[in-house]
């Protein structure tokens, strides 16, 4: 009984959730094909502190079978991200992405290293040893963030009511900052899936 009541009580007590509703966005490329690994975000509420925010997914970028897993990871600004190497070979992970640039030499099966991401934006990850390894970290300053699955759909369960600007980012988007935006008037997305399309280049 307590297990049922507790989440309910928390939902009622949590500020800003009183006027929330689910938002679903489908992201496609210019030809209409669903786009996976697109990150949708909504503006943060006033006074939001990303440094104290925790998303429900692990802050972890694994290296497994010479791949970054997940391919795209969304983290709040200030997050400490784990970089466990599940492979038996070493990796030399690096990023040249502006203020979030870093370099990390990881021996086989090393699992105890953290990297902090103190600046918002997209972080492109590579490996000096394995050229085919490419991954992305999207550093955000909002609690409202979700990633599209294979069907191109991303959902934010507790989107605020009212007019909204949805920002979509994708690693292969051709726009300068990799994003496109969609303005939704109040009630626009109620009970349906908002659509947005992005121009993308062929993945490397």
């Amino acid at each position: 009984m307590i297990r049922f009541l507790l989440p309910l009580a928390l939902a009622v007590l949590a500020p800003g959730h009183a006027s929330a509703s689910p938002l679903e966005v489908q992201v496609t490329d210019a030809s209409g094909a669903p786009l996976a690994n697109a990150v949708i975000t909504l503006p943060a509420p006033d006074g939001f502190d990303p440094e104290r925010h925790r998303f429900q997914w692990p802050m972890m970028m694994e290296q497994q079978r010479l791949q970054f897993v997940p391919h795209v990871l969304v983290v709040p600004r200030g997050a400490q991200v784990e970089f466990p190497n599940r492979d038996r070979v070493r990796h030399h992970v690096y990023s040249f992405s502006g203020s979030n640039a870093f370099e990390l030499e990881l021996y086989g099966r090393e699992e105890a290293r953290l990297v902090g991401f103190g600046h918002p934006g997209a972080v492109v990850l590579g490996c000096n040893i394995h050229d085919a390894m490419i991954g992305y970290i999207r550093v955000v300053e909002t609690p409202y963030a979700a990633m599209t699955g294979a069907d191109g759909v991303a959902a934010i369960a507790d989107a605020p009511e009212g007019p909204l600007t949805v920002t979509v980012w994708h690693p292969y988007a051709t726009s300068a900052d990799g994003t496109a935006t969609l303005a939704l008037a109040e009630g626009d997305s109620a009970g349906r899936t908002a659509q947005i399309s992005l121009n993308i280049r062929a993945p490397r």
Binding site: L66, D87, R88, V89, R90, H92, E105, Y107, G108, R109, E110, N128, I129, H130
Partner: protein
């Protein structure tokens, strides 16, 4: 007839699924062949003798592996290695190359080193440790060089950056 030939060819190309020896980790299947050792074996029995035969080679490999696990230039590369398999296949390879009564059952040099991102400096560091191990076993320089001459060209397949 053509069909039969094709079947025979495909059978010959199917990698033998070697059972995993006790204490070792499974590896992806590959075709077992002495040609995987990366060089033709020496035929001069004096060299095998100078290395102390199978027992001497076993000691040299064990000593070399001990050294690389504490060599700061190499330890991280080998940290997640299967040392049981590493020791066994190195002993087989050296014994085979030195003309001893051994078969090499390990992988070809290129595939066993692929994805490790080995540099020339790291390759040379491993050779240094081998030289120290051969010194410790009392192998004369002239005989050491017979083995090193076989190993040196393997750098082409081992060093990838």
């Amino acid at each position: 007839m053509i069909t039969l030939l094709a079947i025979a060819a495909s059978l010959a190309l199917t990698p033998a699924a070697m059972p995993t020896p006790p204490g070792e980790l499974p590896v992806d299947p590959y075709e077992v062949s002495n040609s995987n050792a990366g060089a033709e074996p020496l035929s001069d029995p004096a060299v095998f003798e100078a290395f102390g035969g199978i027992e001497g080679i076993d000691r040299i490999v064990d000593d070399m592996v001990e050294r690389i696990t504490v060599d700061p230039r190499l330890a991280d590369i080998f940290r997640a290695s299967d040392f049981v398999r590493l020791r066994r296949t190195l002993k087989e390879q050296f014994c085979y190359l030195l003309g001893g009564p051994c078969d090499y059952t390990g992988m070809p040099m290129r595939s066993s080193h692929a994805d490790h991102g080995i540099t020339t400096a790291e390759f040379n560091a491993l050779v240094e440790n081998l030289q120290l191990a051969m010194d410790a076993e009392g192998v004369p320089f002239r005989m050491q060089n017979r083995l090193l001459a076989l190993l040196a060209p393997m750098q082409r397949d081992i060093v990838t950056r």
